[in-house]
């Protein structure tokens, strides 16, 4: 892994900023937003493996996220299991989903895969809403306990923020390592030229399933963190719109680049809040801004910083292997 000094400095500065920012914030709502940002970053960084690098369109994030949230919260509330063990169970659920969704990706691609993942996500949502005995139906699950370490419960937003910040940094660091290693190159290679990957002695199937599994595990972990933070969940929010939002973050930030993913997650979570002063119109205005971004800056915010070369090539390569 090549880490040049500038990017290491930027990373340290970003972490320092993330660590001291809450000290100047007393507003609980703002802290809540910052926790939401952390959770979204984890999801987007995960989605980057499959949709950003490997080029497999995953529109089922809502389903994966809610499976993680429900696994964790049902184990915690129904069986009284320690939240940390629930989190590990959510990771296990991520593995299962990753394998399960990775398999279709071997057979179908492009919009067909997108439709498969949408189908999966919708089935999850309908089951969560209607298996009332297990999931609490539309009312959802309440009273989900927070994480605790050595008897100390993480209850205030500030405590939770710092705990989740640590988890997020670990996950982002690993994502960065993966993206800039032979694994990340293999993901990108699958998007660029599958035949050459096979001829290079690499099993495409295992690479795709690995990418899907990583994406799923990141999303289920985020789901678990979310559930143990807010304390209640219900299925109504986890529809296609929700999944799309993460792909928007991915595209706005810049596909393929971990710093881009982080930036995208921050922007797409916070900018609508900045536009709140427009009241009724804020979401419309935000949607128009995102549409303009997609059309005029399809390679994301990172392309503004690092020179367009690589991203353009990425685009062209993908087009050559498109549909």
């Amino acid at each position: 892994m090549k880490v040049n000094k500038t990017s290491a400095l930027i990373a340290v500065a970003a972490i320092a900023l993330a660590a001291i920012l809450p000290m100047f914030i007393s507003n609980n709502y703002h802290l809540n937003l910052m926790i939401q940002v952390l959770i979204n970053i984890i999801i987007v960084v995960g989605l980057n493996f499959i949709t950003g690098l490997t080029g497999q369109m995953n529109l089922g994030t809502a389903g994966i996220f809610s499976m993680g949230a429900y696994t964790s919260s049902l184990l915690a509330t129904r069986l009284g299991i320690n939240p940390w063990i629930c989190l590990i169970a959510a990771v296990g659920m991520g593995f299962l989903i990753g394998m399960g969704l990775g398999y279709p990706s071997l057979r179908v691609s492009g919009v067909y895969l997108a439709l498969t993942t949408i189908g999966f996500s919708e089935i999850v949502r309908i089951l969560m809403t209607n298996l009332t005995g297990l999931t609490g139906g539309a009312l959802g699950v309440t009273g989900i306990p927070p994480f605790s370490i050595l008897g100390h419960k993480f209850q205030t937003n500030k405590e939770i923020y710092y705990l989740y910040l640590v988890i997020a940094i670990i996950l982002i660091f690993n994502a960065y390592r993966i993206v800039n290693s032979k694994w990340g190159r293999a993901f990108l290679a699958v998007k660029d030229n599958p035949d050459a990957v096979e001829a290079g002695g690499i099993n495409i199937a295992s690479i795709k399933i690995l990418a899907f599994t990583l994406a799923a595990v990141y999303a289920t972990v985020a789901g678990s963190l979310y559930a143990h933070y807010v304390g209640f969940i219900n299925p109504s929010a986890y529809n296609l719109e929700y999944s799309i939002n993460y792909v928007v973050m991915l595209v706005i930030g810049g596909i393929g680049s971990v710093p881009g993913n982080v930036l995208g997650a921050i922007l797409v979570t916070l900018v609508p809040e900045l536009l709140r002063f427009m009241e009724n119109y804020y979401w419309l205005v935000f949607s128009i801004i995102t549409l303009l971004f997609v059309i005029f800056l399809p390679n994301g915010m990172v392309s503004l910083f690092k020179g367009k070369k690589r991203e353009e090539k990425a685009g062209k390569g993908a087009q050559a292997n498109g549909r």
Partner: protein, 271 residues
């Protein structure tokens, strides 16, 4: 056809046949490639050369027959499994990774012979970094060997076609293959690029790698190969040394003859 060549077989095809719903692309093809040779498979357009190389490297399944790499049966394996028997190949239409630099392209070439799995990668950062460093050094070595060093950070799309072909060849060398398959290596190259490519091919051969190639360009074939198999309409029509192939009336009729006739006809009509 009497085969009195010495040495160990490195690639053996036994009665290999490929049918595409009725069309027989390769018909009962048998051949035996010896160690330390540059073995060429030639034939007119549509003779089934590409089908043959794609079957050998596992991109197409066989209809009938068996293929051995040394003593390992490779027919029936997947492409990536065959590649792991230390075979490597290039493609007729370049298959480079367009969103990666030349060096990153190379570093994809030997992903599998560095054995660290994904889970160890996550936890053993030290070894992961060591591996990455080894891959880097290996890529540098090969770039040096191929004379591509100053293009290491370039993207394939920004380079001339000849350099792209060299990059693909370099990538196929990354896995330290024993046997290298080249699919029309000289196609699309201009004469000076062709000379450069032939020299590098010979250099690769001298470094201990056996080469099996498909080629259209007669100059290249006659200059570098030790042994030639000629196929037409999917079936073998001749097999011998370059000198004998050039004299073989069957080959001249099927391959060279037709072309010369065409050329003569074209010359006549132009005149």
């Amino acid at each position: 056809m009497a085969d009195n060549r010495e040495g160990k077989s490195i690639l053996t095809l036994n009665h290999v046949t490929k049918r595409f719903s009725g069309l027989v692309a390769v018909n009962d093809l048998s051949l035996d490639m010896k160690e330390r040779t540059i073995h060429a498979l030639i034939g007119p357009n549509g003779a089934g050369k590409s089908t043959a190389i794609n079957m050998i490297t596992g991109l197409l399944p066989l209809t009938e027959g068996e293929i051995y790499h040394e003593d390992t049966k490779i027919s029936g394996m997947n492409a990536h499994q065959i590649a792991r028997t230390s075979c490597s190949r290039t493609f007729q239409n370049l298959k480079l990774y367009r969103s990666m630099t030349v060096k990153e392209n190379l570093m994809m070439g030997n992903m599998t012979d560095r054995k660290q799995g994904f889970v160890p990668f996550l936890f053993d950062i030290k070894n992961a970094n060591k591996e990455e460093k080894l891959m880097n050094e290996k890529a540098d070595q090969i770039l040096e060997f191929m004379g591509l060093k100053d293009l290491a950070g370039e993207y394939p799309a920004n380079m001339p076609y000849g350099k792209q072909k060299l990059t693909e060849l370099a990538r196929s060398l990354m896995s330290d293959p024993r046997l290298l398959f080249l699919d029309e290596p000289a196609a699309g190259l201009n004469p000076s690029e062709r000379v450069e490519f032939v020299n590098i091919m010979l250099k690769v051969f001298d470094s201990g790698i056996d080469i099996f190639l498909i080629e259209h360009n007669m100059d290249v074939i006659m200059n570098i190969s030790n042994y030639i198999t000629v196929i037409n309409f999917g079936a073998k029509i001749a097999e011998s040394t370059p000198e004998e192939i050039q004299q073989d009336p069957v080959v001249i009729k099927a391959y060279l003859g037709d072309r010369y006739k065409q050329n003569m006809a074209r010359g006549a009509s132009n005149a």
